[in-house]
Amino acid sequence: MRADTPAAASVLAWDLPTRLAKWLLAALVGLAFASKYYGDPAMVWHQWNGLAILVLVVFRLLWGVVGGSTARFAAFVRGPSALLGYVGGLLKGRPAHYLGHNPLGALVILGLLGLVAAQGLTGLFTTDDIIVYGPMTPVASDATMARASALHQQIYPFLLALIGLHVVANLAYSLFGRDNLVRAMITGRKPAAAYVDRAPATPGSVIAALTCLALAVAIVFGGIALAGGNPFP
């Protein structure tokens, strides 16, 4: 690792599994749209892509419990008073300086994960009534499929809007704020400075990450199979 070279003035903010999961998720969400509009007519690609997204979301939820310090929900999800304090500082143009997610960003992260999960879960039960039948449709009632198919079409505009907010906010912080959040999410490091939360971050272990990934695969594919669905589109 490059812990000692130019890094003396920088500290770990995001461990590698957190960054990989984040950029993979972003890429897969982009591909989900691409595969909808440019994919095969039976949407086999879109369905595999959606299953991969669900695996990543489950991974991220597990990683939020046992992962690196800045990835843990218990560390970055803060109460209303911290949130109000942060917003107050932001409005005065002096936002408190966080190494991990700030209290407002944390809400966006939860929203993104929640909406991506909802989009993926409804997709399991979605059909176009023509030739696309999601993995759980063999055991779902017509009413469930109709409801899920409608939701799958109604949720994603909100997801797109929240992604838009997320990207604009991160670019704005990076351009006008104290540190470059986008670069930190790529390199994992931020300049050494006084942060409200504990710095440097403690990375999660590679073994834990691989275990979380294996568990996530088992939960998604095993869960669909146990529920009577067909996990292989």
């Binding site: 007519p41 039976a42 086999v44 176009d128 009534d129 023509i130 030739i131 696309v132 039948y133 109709a146 409801r147 198919s149 409608a150 079409q153 109604q154 589109p233």
Partner: protein, 146 residues
Amino acid sequence: MNRRLAAFAATFAVVLGATAVMAQSDVIKQRQTLLKEFGDLTKPVGGMLRGSNAFDLAAVQAALDTYAKSAKELPALFPAGSDTGDTDALPAIWQDKAKFDGLFAKLASDATSARAAITDEASFKANFPGVIRTCGTCHDSFRKKS
């Protein structure tokens, strides 16, 4: 062929005559029954396209025959004003009924030519997707997302 044509004409006449006297809700039910049949026949054929079901020429032909037949009956089952009640039909249908009917006509003629062109699995994979693309095209603009 002649007998089929006669049978077809008879069905067509019966359906037309029947719709004229039927109440709105029955028209809605009737078209939904035909469209549900589209869905039920297309589902296994979709499995063949993906390779999860074995290719079955007879099932493909049955689906194509039903598209060709019902697509000619369906336009009459969407009379003006039948957008209320237990239906997913969008009012847009009656703002551009010509385009809507044209999509059913396209489905019927595509199904008829595919019926002649499809003789084996390769010609099936080449010709079938084009036929059912019209289903989605119509649903995108004329069917409510529930």
